[in-house]
Symmetry: C2
């Protein structure tokens, strides 16, 4: 069995590959393009990924699943959600063909492919693994505060909204801290993070009573042999749909410090575009207070830095947004992708030493 980072994936994104329609596929392409053999989509067949997404280079888009299999992938990665949530009959035939060739299947769907009677038993018969990364482990604990007692310095990213860069910030920080010689561990709490690292728990798919317990278990796992544990945040305390997941993660992971992430041009929570703008994102200094106050009754923690996502700004705009965020909050700020995570890595090292 291959380790996750050795896999070469064929991404299934038939009919939906595009900048706005294939979020899972796109994250994987952004984070590990070197592990992607091809994308299967009959609509965009013949183009390169770069031509469709604006990034991703020469990875081909193929319009024939069998041709995709012939390119030598070791696993199929489900890069889109099927309409209606059910597995379409065509998907079933593609996935059967993959399993029959001994390829693993990696999926982040809420519907578990391994529970499909036909595909599940075929996988068992062939001794091939179906990796439903959103499937929670069988017996999660109720949170018990043990995450507060681990040796390493634990940092959780929190956000103004979903999809503002909480995972990216931690991955950038991990690489920078490792470069500085620290044992920094990234802890994945969502499907893309699990695809990247090969382990973790999708805390949004856990039964509600066990979200904090799942976070605690992840911190304990991540803490082994680490100096710094970087927990991927989820959602936002002000998101009407997902705030419960965010609070469970905050209380269960007992972080020593928080990093607040925000997309600089976003004024309202983004998931409610169908209606008039609903939840306004408050100023950063107020968000800092919201997170610190929500954590305090269970375990005091503090925001030690700001990560801004400035992908849709010009460089001068981005620089001034970062400067404004630092001034507004009195905290180090950066766009960790555009300007590097240096100022936040400095802050983590400083705070972790002061906490000893």
């Amino acid at each position: 069995m291959l380790a996750p980072k050795q896999h070469r994936f064929l991404i299934l994104a038939d009919g939906q590959f595009g900048p706005l329609t294939s979020k899972t596929a796109n994250s994987c392409i952004r984070y590990f393009p070197e592990r992607i053999v091809a994308v299967f989509d009959r609509t965009e067949a013949g183009k390169t990924v770069q031509q469709v997404l604006g990034f991703g280079g020469a990875i081909p888009v193929v319009g024939d699943f069998t041709r995709g299999l012939a390119l030598g992938p070791s696993a199929v990665l489900i890069g889109i959600a099927p309409m209606g949530g059910q597995l379409p009959p065509e998907w079933r035939s593609w996935l059967k063909a993959a399993l029959e060739q001994g390829l693993e299947i990696w999926s982040g769907l809420h519907t578990f492919i391994g529970d499909d009677p036909e595909l599940g038993s075929l996988a068992r018969a062939r001794g091939v693994r179906i990796h439903d990364v959103r499937k929670p482990p069988p017996s999660l604990p109720i949170a018990d505060g043990r995450a507060a007692e681990v040796e390493p310095y634990v940092i959780l990213t929190v956000g103004s909204d979903c999809n503002v860069g909480k995972m990216t910030a931690q991955l950038q920080l991990r690489d920078e801290l490792v470069r500085r010689g620290l044992r920094a561990r990234f802890v994945a709490t969502g499907q893309t993070g699990i695809f990247i690292e090969g382990w973790g728990i999708a805390v949004d798919a856990v039964v509600a009573d066990f979200v904090a317990g799942a976070a605690e278990q992840l911190v304990l796992q991540g803490a082994a042999d680490a100096d710094v544990v970087l927990v991927e945040g989820q959602g936002s305390l002000i998101h009407p749909g997902y705030s419960g997941v965010t609070l469970g993660l905050l209380h269960g992971s007992c972080p020593d410090a928080l990093i607040l992430c925000h997309q600089a041009t976003r004024d309202y929570i983004g998931d409610y575009h169908g209606r008039e703008p609903w939840v306004r994102i408050p100023p950063l200094a107020e968000l800092v207070e919201i997170y610190e106050r929500a954590a305090a009754p269970v375990r005091a923690t503090k925001v030690i830095g700001i990560c801004l996502n400035t992908f849709d700004m010009t460089e001068p705009q981005a620089r001034s947004a970062v400067a404004r965020a630092a001034e507004e909050t009195g905290l180090p700020a950066t766009d960790p992708v555009r300007f590097g995570p240096g100022p936040l890595a400095d802050a983590i090292v400083r705070e972790a030493l002061a906490a000893r």
Copy 2:
């Protein structure tokens, strides 16, 4: 098929019936003793429920399941959780006997009895229903703010901790408001409430992403033909294990007002007795602020009254605790069981009228 309130239950609590060990059984006995035929427990057989629990009157405890069935129940209610979570072989034989006699099974376990191959198919063959009240409905929505738009005045109970009287407060208020001629609906969000009312969703058993959506759906259901909707609260925003459920319920139900519940003698969150006291319960005025601030970014709401649980105090102690709570918060306060829910029912009517 009988309506839930017409059922006569035989409670299964074998080996664990007692004041501290059979929480589900005890709640059912407290709330609908008239619907309980007998409790099955071989250890306490021969006693009355009163002798074991200190309440519950002459309901017999039987030591022979067949004798319990002979007393004429229409359903078996699982009143305890089996050790280890798995269905013990003895339970299986008892439940088979019940199903074979055409009795329904009502269960609040996290493990679903209807999913058991043997018991599930027996129930289907006999045309008898297994009611796993903790099983979430199949397709819950992501919360979308629709609960804010319902006509009736919506009230959610929130608490300093679990098990302080959030359900009891709403049931008492429902009865009082109905007595005053209002169409008041109780909305159950936990297993005992569902046993009592026959409908609802156990929000702690829902996949975390859908807790707020479940709360929204419940409010929409409860709002039909109602003047006032009384939503049963769960957990506490300062409970390390369950705070996520509480925040999801708060954001998803979009309540017009909150009632804060507290057990007057409790200083620390109660679920962490195994370790040194951990989360200290802050003063009531601070709890009011915690809840109002947590709700505000999604939808502003306010606490309009305090429900104190004073069961373990003398009457003079209880009166002074209630007076102190009112003074500390500037809000009407009562123990709705001991002193009646009158002051809070007054506050609800006043606020609901002012909101028109």
